[in-house]
Amino acid sequence: MGSVVTYVGLSLVLFAIGAVGVCIRRNAIVVFMCIEMMLNAVNLAFVAFSKLQGNLDGQVAVFFVMVIAAAESAIGLAIIIALFRNLVSVETTDAAQLKW
């Protein structure tokens, strides 16, 4: 049925927007938020597929993604703070020591 699959489409659109955000934003905190958004988009896909497949495995997976996302946000924000402490900036373009 079309209407549930549409949510998968919504998930794709949100994921793509988040991906664009990761690519074009320079502020590490905004990049971080975009990543959260992408995770959410994936969660939505899980929920939609759960409904399409008729079982709760997808929703359980979402629960675990949320756990990981919580841990990831703690670590990620700590990294951003450490970055700021070293560079006095959270611009990803300033953190370019990975060059060559």
């Binding site: 991906a19 990761v22 690519c23 074009i24 934003r25 320079r26 990049v31 990803t92 373009t93 953190a95 370019a96 020591q97 990975l98 060059k99 060559w100």
Partner: protein
């Protein structure tokens, strides 16, 4: 064969493994390096002895290490072949090699890269054994190139000194010229005879397939190869320069073993060398001229190692005289005795250099007999041996060579044989003279250098002592057994031995005695006459001191034209085609690199974008597949 296979493989594999271990372990603990290397050669020596004891009964051993080249109906296994000829060479290489390894433990004790030294030395022994044991010419060629490589590495061992590094390069290039001869010979033999197996190439039915002109070409090519390795005219100037290497290297590679590879090759391939009588004749004349020039040059040298180097060239010429006369067994005998006394001389010289704080100029030595008596005795004994005084080792082999020259049956040489015999006798006088001169300048008189010379440690004197002993008894005990022992692989020796009375022994020793007496008179009793002689012969001395300008002649005749030709080739081929395509390749790579380095900005967002692009491409491909 059974057990022969394993032992024969072990003969080669032990030093090869030793080369690896002595470097890997020696880098951590340099003292172990020499022990490992010496042990490896000792194992090889013991295996050779075991095989040698059985080879008389069985005739030969063959060991197949692996298959090497195999396509179509061409099959070339990596095979080792142990017969009586290789037995003698093996015993010399591993026996003398072991003593020199032992000596090196003392000589190289204070060197920084002792592990590298022993690794190279072991690698050399392994390569030399492959050369001696190879069953087919390509396998021999592996060893041939291997010893050349090790020689290059060891001459340039102290490569921080540019002169030494250049000497190594010179040796390498000159050896390559000789290698061309080897390759040409292999090509001719393979196309005509269809085999490169040394045993099959010894059979008359195979050799009869060679047309006359090509037989000459094959024999001459083999001799060219031998001149490169064994330092004969015109490729001999690398050997004196090769003295840049550490002294044990000079003893092992550039006196006792590697330079005799040419003699071995001649002996191994004697069937081909003898096919055209012109080849032995050429060998004879080249050997005579080389021997004479080297002996005269040695008269005017002041560097103790240079004297020995020219003497080596001269003695190699003597061996080739025997080869030219068709008496390969006698040449082999001289290889063996020469290995004993020349290694002894070099190692004694090494002890002297070591004891005099790296002084090599004999004008700044003298009177060392008091400071280092053992070395003096050894050097003296070896001097008597090389001078050909009875009953020392050199006498037997040299005397046999002189006999062989007069007994030659080559139609092209019979007429000239007496002249060659007299010339060789004169060279023998010369040899005795310059060796006695070097002994007197080094060990007698008063000390003219600085500092206090000291005797070498036991680990160095012991091997020298053993070699000195062999120089005394080696000829007496070994020459006749060897000539009869190797009769299978080599043609039987003409002429009778062992029936000489006391008078003929004395007569045989006369050239040597005369040379020594002359040297003693000029340098000890009447220095004034020496000065007078020097003034009279100063042009000669200049010529001698300048090594007969062979290097300069080579420069004009060979190096300059080669430079010109290669210059033309460089401009036409290298700069246009090779370099052009190379720089095109380079600029493309650079352009790609600059393009990709734009991507590699270190910007995380760029990497993420690229990742997304890749993922998108991945998705689109897979959605198409469905």
């Amino acid at each position: 064969m059974g057990s022969g296979d394993l032992r024969l493989s072990l003969v080669v594999l032990a030093p090869a493994l030793g080369a690896l271990l002595s470097y890997v372990i020696g880098r951590r603990s340099p003292k172990l390096s020499g022990v490992i290397a010496s042990g490896a050669v000792l194992v090889s020596f013991l295996c050779s002895v075991l095989l040698w004891q059985q080879v008389g009964a069985t005739g030969s051993f063959t060991a197949t290490l692996s298959s090497w080249i195999s396509f179509g109906d061409v099959s070339l296994p990596l095979q080792l072949y142990f017969d009586k000829l290789s037995a003698v060479m093996c015993l010399v290489v591993t026996g003398v090699g072991f003593l020199i390894h032992l000596y090196s433990i003392g000589y190289m004790a204070h060197d920084e890269s002792v592990a590298r030294f022993f690794s190279y030395l072991n690698l050399f022994v392994a390569a030399m054994l492959v050369l001696v044991l190879g069953k087919s010419l390509p396998v021999i060629f592996i060893g041939w190139e291997g010893v050349g490589l090790c020689s290059y590495l060891l001459i340039g061992f102290w490569f921080a000194n540019t002169e030494y590094a250049k000497a190594g390069r010179k040796a390498f290039v000159m050896n390559r010229i000789g290698d061309v001869g080897f390759i040409v010979a292999m090509a001719v033999l393979y196309t005509q005879c269809g085999t490169l197996d040394v045993v099959e190439l010894g059979q008359g039915s195979v050799l009869s397939k060679l047309p006359a002109g090509l037989a000459f070409l094959a024999g001459l090519s083999l001799f060219v190869a031998a001149t490169g390795k064994s330092a004969q005219i015109p490729l001999f100037t690398w050997l004196p320069d090769a003295m840049a290497g550490p002294t044990p290297v000079s003893a092992l590679i550039h006196a006792a073993t590697m330079v005799t590879a040419g003699i071995y090759l001649m002996g191994r391939m004697h069937g081909i060398v003898e096919l055209d009588p012109a080849v032995p004749a050429i060998i004879m004349w080249v050997a005579l001229v080389t021997s004479a020039i080297a002996a005269l040059t040695a008269l005017a040298q002041n560097d103790i190692k240079k004297v020995l180097a020219y003497s080596t060239v001269s003695q190699l010429g003597f061996m080739f005289l025997a080869v030219g006369a068709g008496q390969y067994a006698i040449a082999l005998c001289h290889v063996v005795t020469h290995a004993f006394f020349k290694a002894c001389l070099f190692l004694s010289a090494g002890s002297v250099i070591h004891g005099c704080h790296h002084e090599q100029d004999m004008r700044r030595m003298g009177g060392l007999a008091k400071a280092m008596p053992i070395t003096a005795i050894c050097y003296g004994v070896a001097t008597l041996a090389i001078a050909g005084i009875c009953p020392f080792a050199g006498y037997y082999s040299k005397h046999a060579i002189l006999g062989a020259i007069s007994g030659t049956t080559n139609p092209l040489l019979v007429a000239a044989a007496p002249f060659i015999g007299y010339a060789a006798t004169a060279i023998a006088v010369c040899t005795a003279f310059y060796m006695a001169r070097s002994f007197i300048m080094t060990f007698l008189g008063g000390y003219r250098g600085e500092g206090h010379p000291h005797e070498a440690p036991l680990v160095m004197t012991a091997p020298v002592g053993v070699l000195a002993l062999l120089s005394v008894i080696g000829g007496f005990l070994l020459v006749h057994p060897i000539t009869s022992f190797v009769t299978g692989p080599l043609p039987a020796t003409a002429g009778e031995h062992g029936s000489e009375g006391f008078v003929s022994l004395l007569i045989g020793s006369l050239p040597g005695l005369f040379g020594i007496a002359l040297a003693a008179y000029l340098f000890l009793v009447a220095p004034r006459e020496k000065e007078l002689l020097r003034r009279i012969f100063s042009p000669v001395e200049k010529l001698c001191g300048g090594k007969f300008y062979v290097d300069e002649i080579l420069q004009v005749l060979v190096v300059t034209p080669c430079r010109k030709i290669s210059g033309i080739a460089f401009r036409a081929v290298d700069q246009r085609i090779v370099e052009g395509s190379g720089s095109a390749l380079g600029s493309v790579t650079q352009a790609v690199g600059e393009l990709t380095c734009r991507i590699t900005t270190g910007q995380v967002t760029t990497y993420v974008l690229l990742m997304f692009i890749a993922a998108a491409a991945f998705f689109s491909v897979f959605s198409q597949v469905r």
